[in-house]
Symmetry: C2
Subunit: 259 residues, 2 copies
Amino acid sequence: MCQLLGMNCNTPTDILFSFEGFHRRGGQTDHHADGWGIAFFENKGCRIFLDDKPSVESPVAHMVRNYPIKSENVIAHIRKATQGEVNLANTHPFMREMWGRYWIFAHNGNLENFQPEAGCHYNPVGGTDSERAFCHLMERLRAKWCQQPQLDELFAEVARLAGEVSSHGVFNFMLSNGEVLFAHCSTHLHYIIRQAPFNTAHLVDDDVSVDFASVTTPHDRVAVIATQPLTDNESWTQLVPGELLLFRDGSPLSQHLPG
Amino acid sequence: MCQLLGMNCNTPTDILFSFEGFHRRGGQTDHHADGWGIAFFENKGCRIFLDDKPSVESPVAHMVRNYPIKSENVIAHIRKATQGEVNLANTHPFMREMWGRYWIFAHNGNLENFQPEAGCHYNPVGGTDSERAFCHLMERLRAKWCQQPQLDELFAEVARLAGEVSSHGVFNFMLSNGEVLFAHCSTHLHYIIRQAPFNTAHLVDDDVSVDFASVTTPHDRVAVIATQPLTDNESWTQLVPGELLLFRDGSPLSQHLPG
């Protein structure tokens, strides 16, 4: 299994504090050492930093930890390989362009006997079940709509597709187009909303605290989503298996529950 | 205008020496300070490092200069904005997936009145003529072939499309799928092949030399392609306007000349 981290905000925010704890799970406080990656949206632009080295010893992670990139949507992933060898093509997050926007995807879980037919628009480059699932989602959405539909229609279709793919196994994922962030839970996913009045948070994985009141404005709102809570003195909400949440501007906007 | 740098090799090679001189053209020895980027293929995997800061002061460039990523195909670009504002979405190189491989593109030049119709498969995210041209190339190739064709057929079609787009202005570009690298010249593009017996090379942009004999094996062959020669003691070959070259394993494999 892998570790997922996501952030969705109403104002460009750096993820240094959360990433500080998260990257230690790649080979230090946890054993997910088969590469890692992080994608930052800056408006419609997107940059992904990938490394097939464990994140605790990666020069790219060292740079990311010291460069406060401000972003409204971030997805990060630390890999524990289940399917597909350890190489760059199999390192999450994955990116494709759809409807004139970049889409970013990362997956935690394992899908069995999942071999969707080759796409007209999107095909995997590497050998993971995860990239196959991402291309399948993109393919089905693109086949249904030539341009981006209304958000409620899109949300309903992503929920339907996520349910279908989940019949093949564990399918915790995050998906973002830089505007909204989808978070789907099969087994483990937690989130927290940070907004005024801000407090001090303390990392689980390291003895580091930050007083968010000193680095925010009263208007800021930030959703952080992670496989396991990153702090030990805040109250995280656990998603239930089968739940899909859509975050926009730092808040959950739409919710789909199983059944 | 911008600066292009490409590398195509028969064995994974780091680009540190060439990048050392090249990155100084982004705000120090030249005035191309509107962002920069570099893409490294590692087999079918690809990672792109982008920054909308000038390359001489970019933390990402600092990391790239100190991390010897070994790659068989590299494309780098330093931007001097002509069309499209300075932001991440307009920063080269651009990436799309086609036929189950990543494709990377960077452009030096300026295209006027170039507004191809919206694609079925590929659409630009940013506002540059360069990304429009890349999406147009991908769209036409993808519309013609559902799977990657023979290399000679692909080369002939890229040459034909490059000629068409060149009627709109200056279209120096590099394009790679991690297997081969296309280099097209409208105005300025030079290349050099380094192979045994290797010599010492000295940068134009900085007083740095490297003895390639000490860092290579006799079997290595490396093609370096750049807008302007990067070294002042080697013999670079200048492409002629309208020329397209296809590099594989560190050698020019196919050549298309204008007329």
